[in-house]
Symmetry: C2
C-alpha cells in the first residue's frame, strides 16, 4: 500500500531524504548524505530541487499529501469497523500507522512535523483536529459519547492524548516497558485507555 512505483532518480532522492530526515532530523542530514543514499551525485539533488530547503519543502508536501490519503482511509475504517479494528478510544494515531508498512519512516517524519511548530506541521495538526472535533460532536449527538460543556477542548484533549503515545512511545518503551506502537503494546494501552475513558479515573465524592 502506498508503494510509490516512481523509481526515477528524482523520486529516489525524495525517498532517501524522507528516511534520513525522519531518522536524524533535517538539520543533521547533509546533501551529500542524501545523494549517497539515493545513489546519485550531490549535484543532482540541487539540480532537481534547487536547494536543500526546496528538497525539505518537497518532502513536507509529499508527506502532507500522504497524510490526507491516510486520513481518508482511517475515516473509512472508523465508519465501518472490522473485526479487530479498535474503536476510537485507542486513537487515530494507531489507525494511521496501521495503514503503513511495518518500518515506514512516515510516523517519525510526522512526529517531527507536528513538533516543529512550522506551517506544514500546523496544517496537519489542523486537519487532525478538525477531524477529531467532527467525530466528537458526532459521538455526542449519537449518544456514544457523554456530552461535554466544552466540545472544542474535549476534542483537543482526546486528540493530543492520542498523539502523545506517538510522540513519546520510545520513552514509554524504555521507562515503562510498554511501547504503545507495538502490537501487544497497543492491546494493553487501548484496554486501559478505553477503561479510563469509559468508567473514569477519579471517583466522585458522593460515590
Amino acid at each position: 500500500m502506498f508503494n510509490d512505483p516512481d523509481q526515477t532518480a528524482r523520486a529516489n532522492i525524495r525517498t532517501s531524504a524522507l528516511e534520513l530526515f525522519a531518522a536524524k532530523g533535517p538539520d543533521a542530514v547533509t546533501i551529500r548524505e542524501i545523494a549517497a543514499a539515493a545513489g546519485v551525485s550531490p549535484g543532482l539533488v540541487l539540480h532537481h530541487y534547487g536547494s536543500k530547503q526546496g528538497l525539505r519543502n518537497a518532502v513536507d508536501e509529499y508527506v502532507a499529501a500522504l497524510f490526507e490519503v491516510l486520513t481518508k482511509g482511517s475515516m473509512a475504517d472508523m465508519a465501518a469497523p472490522g473485526a479487530d479494528t479498535p474503536g476510537v478510544a485507542s486513537g487515530f494515531a494507531e489507525l494511521l500507522i496501521g495503514h503503513l508498512p511495518p518500518h515506514s519512516p512516515i510516523p517519525a517524519y510526522l512526529r517531527r512535523l507536528l513538533l516543529a511548530d512550522d506551517p506544514a506541521g500546523r496544517q496537519i495538526f489542523r486537519t487532525w483536529y478538525n477531524l477529531t472535533l467532527a467525530l466528537t460532536k458526532q459521538g455526542i449527538a449519537s449518544g456514544a459519547m457523554r456530552p461535554s460543556a466544552d466540545p472544542e477542548v474535549r476534542a483537543a484533549f482526546l486528540m493530543i492524548n492520542d498523539l502523545a503515545t506517538m510522540l513519546l512511545h520510545k520513552n514509554l518503551a524504555a521507562v515503562v516497558g510498554v511501547d504503545p506502537l507495538t502490537p501487544d503494546g497497543i492491546a494493553r494501552w487501548a484496554a486501559d485507555a478505553i477503561d479510563a475513558y469509559s468508567t473514569g479515573v477519579f471517583r466522585l465524592e458522593n460515590e
Copy 2:
C-alpha cells in the same frame, strides 16, 4: 525563586546557552552566538567547558538538577493543596511551570530533553513516571481514584496526557485557540480534563 546569584562569566555562559538552546535547539546555536549573548569571547566558552558537547552536558545537568528541586516542590504542593492549587487532574506539568518565573526557558528546554530520546531526557522521564505511578497507587489505595487493572499503564497514560499539553501547547494555541499553558487556558483545560476523568468520555452500552 531559583534565581541563581552566580554571576560569574562561567555561569553567564551556561545561562545564555540554556536560553538559546531552549529557543532554537542546540544544533542551531553556535558557540559564537552563545559567547555574544553572554558578553564574552568565543574562546572563553571552550576554556570553561572544553567543547560544545561539554557545554551541552553542563546545561543538561543543570536543568536535571533544577527539575529534581521543582519536583520536590510540586510534591509538597500536592500534599498540601492551597486555595487555587488545581488537583492532580490538571497535571504535574502545570504545577512545575507554576514554580518558575513567567518567561523561564526551562519548560522549553525540558520539552527538548523529553523529546530528544537521549539519556538525560530519559532520566527525567523516569523520575516523572515513578512519581506519577506512586501517586496513582496512592490514589487508588485512598479511594480517590478508581482501581485499574493495569496501574503501570494507567500511570503512564495519565502522565503523557499531561505532558502532551506541554509538548503541543503552541499547536493548540494556533489551531484550537486555547493555550493550556496560559492562565485562562489552564482553567478551561483543567475543567474539561477533570470532567473527562471523573464522569468519563464514553457512554457505557447499558446506560
